[in-house]
Amino acid sequence: MIKFDQVSKRYAGGKEALSGINLELADAEMAFLTGHSGAGKSTLMKLIIMMERPSQGQVFVDGANLNRLGRRDIPGIRRNVGVVFQNHQLLFDRTVYDNVALPLTIAGYQSREIGRRVRAALSKVGLESKEKQFPVALSGGEQQRVGIARAVVNKPLLLLADEPTGNLDPELSQEIMNLFSQFNQVGVTVMIATHDLDLVRKMGHRQIVLSKGRLVA
């Protein structure tokens, strides 16, 4: 699903965020991406959804060489990848329903299909009763679950999460991780960047460790 081939990323100013990364993630695999702050976890994820471009090397997602894709191809790639952020990236002036529906609206689904899928995604994260509420009215954990619902509503093949439990207490974190695990069990490739080593150990999936921009495990 994901393949990094000798990928380096150097930011303007000379800081090398990633150097010589070789990495492969099989279809329907689940992996945790760990390492200190600044080890390059976020950069690695940004390369997958083309928020950044590699300085060297090649990134493949679902067989497509991202180097060969232009600006116009970015939306297509992103529609097939669900992304969950630590800060949720929700739109606070829209209801939970509208937030989750956003990827489908963008992809041009008809409203009946949108309704069906949004409700399915919300029920999957246990928020079916909150669709009319605004994100402000929700707790941190609920907001994060809305973010997850939005990430999976388009039925992506790949789910990326950048510190999805960063602000949550251990119990909630566990819940969120279980949710990711469930998606993985039905065939979604999942990669989660996290600090939470205890949780990683408990979940027992593959661990990818970055240190100072290099792959160490």
């Binding site: 689940m30 995604a121 039905v186």
Partner: protein, 336 residues
């Protein structure tokens, strides 16, 4: 992981293996359905943008007013020009002369003179106006009845008004000098010159209106562009999220283009209202003024086609201004 086996029996909510494609959700979306959804989205965005404008009515009204004033000014000047053109247009290319006869010329001599003139093939029309009827008419139209009545005798001369056949300016001049030399003629006034001047002035005015319109149009463009820039800035977070979940540039651009469209259209409607209100306010005194020059005149406002042009220009400027702002600012906003 056991994912590979699981993928063969996917449950309802999550994923199934798809053909490899970077295109948008190829499944279950026929071309027709996609087109329908696209048009529906246009409609939705259009209405939503308009609704948002009305929900911040005061701000929107101010923007509409600014644009409206900028559009109303050239529209008013345009109306002024067309009306002046009409005023001159009633002149059919046939020069008119007024021959003021010397005091003491008898009515009989005057009539004979006018008949004599009429027999000239170059003269299309000649009519004799006695000094009494000239006075009566002047009294009626000028509002100076009292002053005129207090005069001991009629100060107005008898006049022969003639209309020449359409002659070249040189021929006209020749005719004028010829007639001027007649002993009964005190002086002669040719209304040719003021018409020629009027047309030159109108041509000048047209250029002026065009130049002014261009500047004001540029102003509208910039003010809409700036308003849209602020709107983009206000919705930065939303733009980032939309781009993050796969929104195309077109999708991101759409609401702003509609916003520009509504600003332009609203501004044009405002301009139309301002123009029509001003005309209502002005028409009565203008018509009265022109009546005193013996002109039957109706002030012509914006007709259907002119209104359509005004609205069209507003919309075009709105969308164009928005497109400029969007082109300049939207690609800078990328998810961080």
């Amino acid at each position: 992981m056991s994912g590979a086996t699981n993928r063969t029996t996917p449950p309802r909510t999550v994923t199934r293996p798809r053909p490899k494609s970077t295109g948008a959700s190829a499944h279950s979306l026929g071309m027709l359905g996609k087109m329908g959804a696209y048009l529906k989205h246009h409609r939705q965005v259009g209405f939503e943008t308009l609704r948002n404008l009305f929900s911040t009515l005061l701000t929107s009204l101010m923007t509409w007013m600014v644009i409206g004033i900028a559009l109303a000014l050239p529209a008013m000047l345009y109306i002024l020009l067309t009306n002046l053109g009409n005023l001159g247009g009633e002149w059919d290319g046939k020069p008119r002369l007024s021959l003021y006869l010397k005091a003491g010329t008898s009515e009989k001599a005057g009539i004979a003179l006018s008949e004599n003139l009429f027999s000239d093939p170059d003269v299309a029309m000649a009519s004799y106006i006695t000094s009494d009827s000239a006075l009566a008419e002047f009294q009626k139209n000028s509002g100076f009845e009292d002053v005129l009545a207090s005069l001991p005798n009629n100060p107005l001369p008898a006049v022969i008004e003639i209309e020449l056949e359409a002659l070249s300016p040189a021929e006209t001049k020749l005719k004028v000098t010829q007639v001027e030399s007649w002993p009964e003629v005190e002086s002669i006034s040719v209304d040719l010159e003021w018409i020629e001047r009027l047309f030159v002035i109108l041509a000048l005015g047209e250029r002026f209106v065009m130049a002014l319109s261009m500047f004001l149009g540029l102003g509208v463009l910039l003010s809409i562009g700036n308003t849209i820039r602020l709107a983009i800035e206000n919705r930065r977070a939303e733009i980032e999220v939309v781009k993050l979940v796969g929104g195309t540039d077109g999708f991101v651009r759409r609401p702003f283009l509609y916003l520009g469209f509504w600003y332009g259209l609203g501004g044009a409607v405002g301009a139309w209202l301002m123009v029509q209100a001003s005309l209502l306010f002005l028409s009565e005194p203008i018509e009265r003024l022109l009546l005193s020059y013996q002109e039957e005149f109706t002030l012509i406002g914006l007709g259907a086609s002119e209104t359509a042009v005004l609205l069209g220009i507003g919309c075009i400027l709105g969308v164009l201004g928005a497109a400029l702002a969007v082109g300049r600012h939207l690609h800078r906003i990328e998810p961080q």
